[in-house]
């Protein structure tokens, strides 16, 4: 992973002293709250329902054991002993005090971490495929480019006061594990005649106007990446609406002007920028690339794995759901589930963080990843170490064998934490998870992605869930709308609204009806929910959700606008 140089360290140090100064000036009144707000957001500090919330950056979801241990220390010293891993591969602390934040930032700086641009109208954390550098289906590890983009976007003089936030995601695989089609810019690395280039997708996004991104460039050569991105953001900075924050994202700009017009403006701007761009220093680029060289993999037999797999049913179950094929034979990509039944999705206690750090240091070549699905990945585990890893995870309740199953739910923090929320999302996630555990149907149901958002901003990515749940507020009462058939992968799709919403007591039985219908109408147990939906459409599920309607077609229920 990237090694911070003196330049990076000095930058963070200066940045932290600037922030310390900004806090002082806020307290003494030299900065109004309005002026302080974007400055604190630029350093990841939100004001939430109960307290400040600090969103720490985990660039492209990659960290090592020392960094994870520091997060655990911060959770213990300045927070309530836990952290929340997010759908953009960052980590959130929900209870810091404003006056402690400069100290927290200094503690982070000790392990080369920060909270720069995780919030505000800036270019945010560049996210990447959480299996980067490990999966066999990769053309190239996309993370050196994510790091390049991170540096380019950090404290960019032109782009600190954009019309809105700007999010970039990168993948090196045709199998999109980074949701690139729902980002402001999605980049897919390609190989053409032995050279690396990028498919550039623009204007994807969720929230109140979900849109799948459009291809604006089918092959952007590697050397042109940064000036091209600069052109995109520059054009949007000029055109993006500043009169209406709900119409400010680039997806709306593309929608309003047309993708061909935007593409032309970008090409024109790109050509102008080239005249003042000398090209990335070749040594700098090579330095970044070499930092992502793969670890020295070990060559060993898999005897311990083979025996444990045969003899230990719980271990076998965990391997079957939680591990993924690694590009190196006899290695494995292990996913640590942060979705224990009944627990808050994506949360980890400081104890759990320390255990993961410990395991990574000894058994994953000191590498850890955070996935947008709010789980933790150990990307490089030799199979012979998996039994030991499993036992260590088990000792801290990190061994839930449910990756990709119905209880592996993505849920935003919702009304329990977030000032923007219109409904609680965590209890719904917990109830669904526990219900299907109780029914012992998880494995029968197989692969399905439920995503829950506690408000229209869709931080839970509900639009691209196979089943999406959106929690709204109807005259002071929580009301949950269901969408079906969304897809967050390379076949990205926005889910279809099923109909009127359900109350907090009705929503879980409603989900149950959808699942039982699926079990009834699927071809066989090899047909996943999403494939059944694609084959049959919404009709059977709508019928199951609203049975009274289908019996009396004359009764028209009022459909609520989103």
């Amino acid at each position: 992973m990237y090694n911070y140089t003196e330049f990076d360290d000095a930058f963070i140090k200066a940045r932290n002293s600037q922030f310390r100064n900004q806090v002082k000036r806020r307290i003494n009144g030299n900065l109004t709250e309005d002026e302080f707000k974007p400055l604190r957001l630029m350093n990841g500090l939100y004001l939430q329902l109960h307290a400040y919330m600090l969103r720490v950056a985990i660039p492209y979801g990659t960290l090592d054991s020392a960094q994870m241990e520091k997060l655990a220390l911060i959770a213990d010293r300045w927070d309530k002993g836990y952290g929340h891993f997010t759908t953009r591969q960052n980590v959130q602390f929900n209870w810091p005090k404003l006056t402690d934040v400069p100290d927290i930032l200094d503690a982070l700086a000790e392990v080369k971490m920060h909270a720069i641009q995780t919030s505000g109208n800036t270019i945010r954390n560049v996210t990447a495929d959480h299996f980067s550098g490990a999966a066999a289906d990769e053309v190239t590890d996309p993370r050196p480019y994510a790091e390049l983009i991170r540096q380019w976007s950090t404290d960019h003089p032109e782009f600190q006061f954009l019309p809105r936030k700007f999010k970039v995601a990168v993948t090196g695989s045709k199998n999109d594990r980074a949701v690139i089609r729902a980002h402001d810019i999605g980049l897919r690395a390609l190989l053409r005649n032995g050279k690396i280039g990028f498919e550039v997708i623009i204007g994807g996004g969720l929230g109140r106007s979900p849109m799948i991104g459009k291809v604006i460039n089918t092959f952007l050569p590697e050397a042109d990446l940064l000036p091209y991105l600069e052109a995109v953001v520059s054009v949007w900075n000029t055109l993006g609406r500043r009169d209406n924050k709900y119409k400010a994202r680039i997806k709306i700009t593309v929608h309003e002007h047309g993708v061909e017009k935007i593409k032309q403006l970008v090409e024109d701007r790109y050509n102008e920028i080239l005249s003042t761009f000398s090209g990335v220093n070749h040594e700098l680029l090579e330095e970044i690339k070499s930092a992502f060289a793969p670890p020295v993999f070990k060559s060993k037999g898999t005897k311990y794995f083979d025996i444990a797999y045969k003899e230990n049913a719980a271990f076998r179950s965990w391997v079957d759901t939680n591990t993924h094929t690694h590009k190196i034979s006899n290695y494995s990509i292990a996913t640590v589930s942060l979705k224990a039944h009944g627990k808050t999705p994506g949360d980890a206690t400081s104890d759990q963080m320390r255990q993961i750090a410990n395991i990574a240091r000894h058994y994953s070549h000191d590498q850890i990843r955070i996935s947008h699905e709010q789980n933790i990945i150990l990307p490089h585990v030799h199979k012979s170490d998996l039994p030991k890893v499993y036992n260590l995870l088990k000792s801290k309740q990190l061994n839930t064998a449910n990756i990709g199953l119905i209880s592996d739910i993505i849920a935003c923090p919702g009304m329990d934490y977030c000032a923007l929320a219109t409904a609680r999302s965590i209890p719904i996630a917990q109830e669904i998870s526990m219900r299907f555990d109780e029914l012992k149907l998880e494995h029968e149901v197989g692969h399905i992605q439920i995503k829950i958002s506690g408000c229209i901003n869709a931080c839970g990515h509900h639009h691209v869930g196979h089943i999406g749940i959106l929690g709204l507020d109807r005259a002071g009462v929580e009301n949950y709308q269901i969408t079906l058939g969304g897809d967050a992968t390379e076949t990205a799709r926005i889910g279809d609204r099923a109909g009127p919403g359900f109350s907090a007591t009705q929503i879980v039985p409603a989900i149950e009806r959808v699942i039982l219908t699926y079990l009834k109408v699927r071809l066989n147990k090899h047909e996943n929910f999403i494939h059944t939906y694609q084959r049959l459409g919404i009709a059977p599920f709508k019928q199951a959700l609203y049975p009274k309607e289908s019996q009396s077609p004359k009764i028209q229920k009022k459909t609520y606008a989103a």
Binding site: N30, D155, F159, L226, T238, F277
Partner: protein
């Protein structure tokens, strides 16, 4: 008294400059005002006929002025580029790196954003990622 902020701190604006609004400029105009939403196609002249271009920041949250400044520099403007309006000291380095020579602020703003705070950010050539990556060679 209006203050001009540069790398050396404050100096009061003592010269009167007659700015023409950019879309009313003629071939002999020497100084123009650009609003934050300026469309440079509406400037009829040649950038290098101008001694000074002043770009307005109606709100510090409106970052279009930085893009405008960049554009003007990319297109070869070698004269004086000044940012004016609601700009806070925390934006000084952004302004210099985008191509501005200095910043014009009201006395009210200068009172709330004293000189020391601007000088604190005047080391804009340091910790400059974009320059290090080959950008802003103007």
């Amino acid at each position: 008294m209006t203050q001009i902020v540069s790398d050396f701190g404050f100096s009061p604006l003592d010269k009167v400059i007659n700015y023409e609004f950019y879309d009313k400029a003629s071939k002999t105009t020497k100084a123009i005002d650009l609003p934050s939403d300026a469309d440079l196609k509406l400037f009829a002249g040649d950038l290098n006929q101008l001694k000074i271009i002043r770009i307005d920041f109606p709100s510090f949250a409106d970052g279009r002025g930085f893009t405008l400044a960049k554009l003007v520099r990319i297109r070869g403007f070698k004269g004086h580029l000044r940012a004016k309006g609601h700009i806070i000291s925390d934006q000084y380095a952004m302004a210099r790196r985008s191509g501005f020579d200095d910043v014009e602020i009201s006395q009210d703003l200068a009172d709330r954003q004293p000189e020391t705070e601007w000088l604190f950010r005047s080391n804009w050539k340091k910790h400059y990622y974009q320059s290090r990556l080959g950008f802003n060679k103007y």
